[in-house]
């Protein structure tokens, strides 16, 4: 597995150790990109800061909480509403963001007073919300504000409120991943064990590393409910603050995004003896195996099997319609941290696409191990990319589509490469059986949208045909398919609703006898 040097990064020779090409007959012990290191000066990184990782990724998906950033308003604003972690309480945590609005004068004279005023003001403005998280930022950490002391003072004065302080300023790590780590450890140290768990079922799990992007969590909770498994808490999407204080009461931790939340699972294992089971909600086969494993753990695998059979029968013909049309399409799988390994193999197997590159903005070497292990020979894997490297990779690999975040996604569009939002999704949720079909549908729509035929034309250079104006995605996708596939009676396009989540909130579930 040779290390790969980008032409554009020859002037930053240290970058070479951050990229490898998966070679034939080679394994992870031959080469592994460096990871989770400070960005090399001169490389314009796509990363976020440690405050963003703590607040925006993990803290704020908690739904019944005032999330207050102690710092200038810019830190808060820039980590607001760019990720769709919805919730079933009318999206309180998405609609509102709070900041102590620190200015220059507070840097000189201290910002504790203004913080206290803001905490009290926020609780008064939303009297039904009794929980708060406060996030430290660079400026207020550097002047040494004692946020814990202020939080304690307020909790003494307002005994019905509870406050969690997350001390993860922007500089507390090489990337947002430093913030994931800090908030995991702070939560278990300060909050887990402070509320008595409300156990209502025989089989109790914490669902960890799940952020309810466009309803992912609610889709998965539906499966757990149908199995008669009680989800004591979700860390943290659509999760409740007090439920998360009771995490110690679960029988099993079911972990999805290990990159952002394995720390708390590992600590819960050491401290409370709760085992950790890594699962996957993406893709028919990995999801089925995951539900089955949870079923096996509790001895209720028959219940899992019923769901697997029902859902597969309902959605597989739709997934396969898209598979026929996506086969052989080249994908750059460029997410933040964990999707490179969640998706690398299952996209290839279940949608027939070829992953030509994986990258991670903030993953660690462990994520690269998983990602490289799961992609096919020839893929280019690189860590902490910069914009020029991304462009160079797209020019040489010529992908049909990339899955990435909004910023690099917009860059890709400029060179006529379609992109799907891997972080916040286009038309998710993407978890669950139906969700996986929605993802396939979005990929199909992105690749075959007739707009790409037009946008690829250079009107100053190319001959423009004016006789063939009308095209549809289907005309483009079906041109080389056999009649058997095109007129198949079993395969069909997505038939779900525009909104696949709201109905789940109204569902009732059977009671299971012990």
């Amino acid at each position: 597995m040779p290390y790969h040097e980008f032409e554009c990064s020859k002037c930053i020779p240290e970058r070479k150790k951050h990229a490898v090409v998966k070679g034939p007959g080679e394994d992870l012990t031959h080469a592994l990109p460096l990871g989770y290191l400070n960005t090399i000066p001169g490389s314009i990184s796509e990363r976020g800061c440690a405050y963003c990782g703590a607040k925006h990724v993990i803290g704020t998906p908690m739904k019944d909480v005032i999330h207050l950033s102690h710092g200038p308003v810019g830190c808060t604003y820039d980590t607001w509403q760019t990720k769709r972690y919805t919730s079933d309480n009318d999206n309180f945590q998405l609609k509102y963001t709070f900041a102590s609005d620190v200015k220059e004068k507070h840097i000189v004279f201290g910002a504790e007073k203004v913080l206290k005023q803001n905490i009290i003001e926020a609780f008064k403005a939303f009297p039904e919300i009794k929980r708060m998280t406060i996030y430290q930022t660079c400026a207020t950490a550097l002047i040494g504000d004692d946020v814990d002391a202020i939080a304690d003072e307020v909790m003494e004065e307002m005994p019905d409120v509870d406050i969690f302080v997350c001390n993860s300023p922007g500089f507390a790590g090489p990337s947002q991943s430093g913030g994931h780590h800090k908030i995991n450890i702070a939560w278990i140290k300060k909050k887990v064990g402070t509320v008595e768990p409300k156990i209502t079922g025989d089989y109790v799990i914490n669902y960890v590393g799940e952020y309810n992007i466009q309803g992912d969590q609610e889709v998965m909770i539906d499966y757990f409910n149908r199995m008669g498994v009680q989800v004591l808490s979700t860390f943290t999407g659509n999760g409740s603050y007090d439920d998360l204080r009771a995490m110690h009461g679960a029988h099993l931790n079911v972990l999805e995004c290990a990159r952002s939340a394995e720390y708390i699972c590992n600590e819960l294992k050491v401290k409370y003896g709760i085992p950790r089971l890594d699962i996957e909600g993406f893709g028919f086969e990995p999801l089925s195996a995951s539900l089955r494993k949870i079923g096996l753990f509790f001895g209720i695998e028959d219940r899992a099997q019923t769901i697997i059979d029902e859902e597969t029968a309902r959605w597989k013909p739709e997934l396969d319609w898209y598979k026929e049309r996506l086969k052989g399409k080249k994908v750059c799988l460029w997410p933040g941290g964990s999707k490179l390994w969640h998706w690398a193999n299952v996209l290839h197997e279940e949608m027939g696409v070829d992953i030509v590159s994986v990258y991670t903005k903030f993953g660690h070497q462990g994520d690269m191990e998983k990602g490289i292990a799961r992609c096919e020979v020839g893929a280019l894997a690189f860590d902490d990319p910069n914009e020029l490297e991304g462009l160079e990779a797209m020019m040489t690999l010529k992908p049909d589509i990339i899955f990435t975040g909004k910023r690099p996604g917009e860059v890709a569009k400029k060179i006529r490469v379609p992109y799907l939002n891997a972080h916040a999704y286009h038309n998710g949720p993407y978890k669950g059986y139906e969700g996986w079909v929605r993802f396939a549908r979005d990929i199909y729509n992105a690749i075959y949208s007739p707009i790409h035929q037009l946008s690829n034309l250079d009107i100053s250079n190319d001959e423009i045909s004016i006789g063939t104006g009308f095209q549809t995605a289907k005309m483009l996708s079906d041109v080389n398919l056999s009649d058997e596939v095109v007129s198949s009676a079993t395969l069909r396009q997505y038939t779900g609703k525009y909104d696949s989540v709201s109905d789940l909130r109204k569902k009732t579930y059977p009671e299971f006898k012990k």
């Binding site: 992870l28 450890i185 949870i294 096996l296 462990g366």
Partner: protein, 115 residues
């Protein structure tokens, strides 16, 4: 011998592409995961009793059973093997997985003493 190596490589490829349990973040966790899951998988493949006393045991067993089901559905040659040969095969697989994920791993975080 070549034959055994080739079979180990196929099982290794399955684990690398389909499983996550072998990639916990620290060397000591990878060691226990590999040891327990592959031990239970061997017992399952050889129709031997599997210990299910503790929650941890059940968790290893769930991963092991899922693994053996995957093996059985993909590698028909497994059914024709004797129990002794399966044990040899699984021992070779364990050595290989330990090497790729622990002893030969280039992951510098494996030895970090804290999570």
């Amino acid at each position: 011998m070549e034959n055994l190596k080739e079979k180990v490589a196929q099982l290794e490829d399955y684990i690398m592409k389909k499983c996550l349990w072998q990639f916990h973040s620290r060397a000591w966790d990878r060691k226990t995961q590999n040891e327990n899951i592959l031990k239970k998988a061997t017992q399952l493949l050889c129709d031997e009793p599997v210990e299910l006393e503790t929650p941890a045991d059940r968790c290893y067993w769930a991963d092991a059973l899922s693994l053996t089901e995957g093996f059985r559905s993909r590698y028909e040659w497994l059914t024709a093997m004797s129990k002794e040969d399966i044990k040899l095969l699984m021992q070779g697989l364990k050595e290989r997985i330990d090497f790729v994920t622990i002893t030969g791993s280039l992951n510098a975080e494996l030895t970090d003493p804290r999570y």
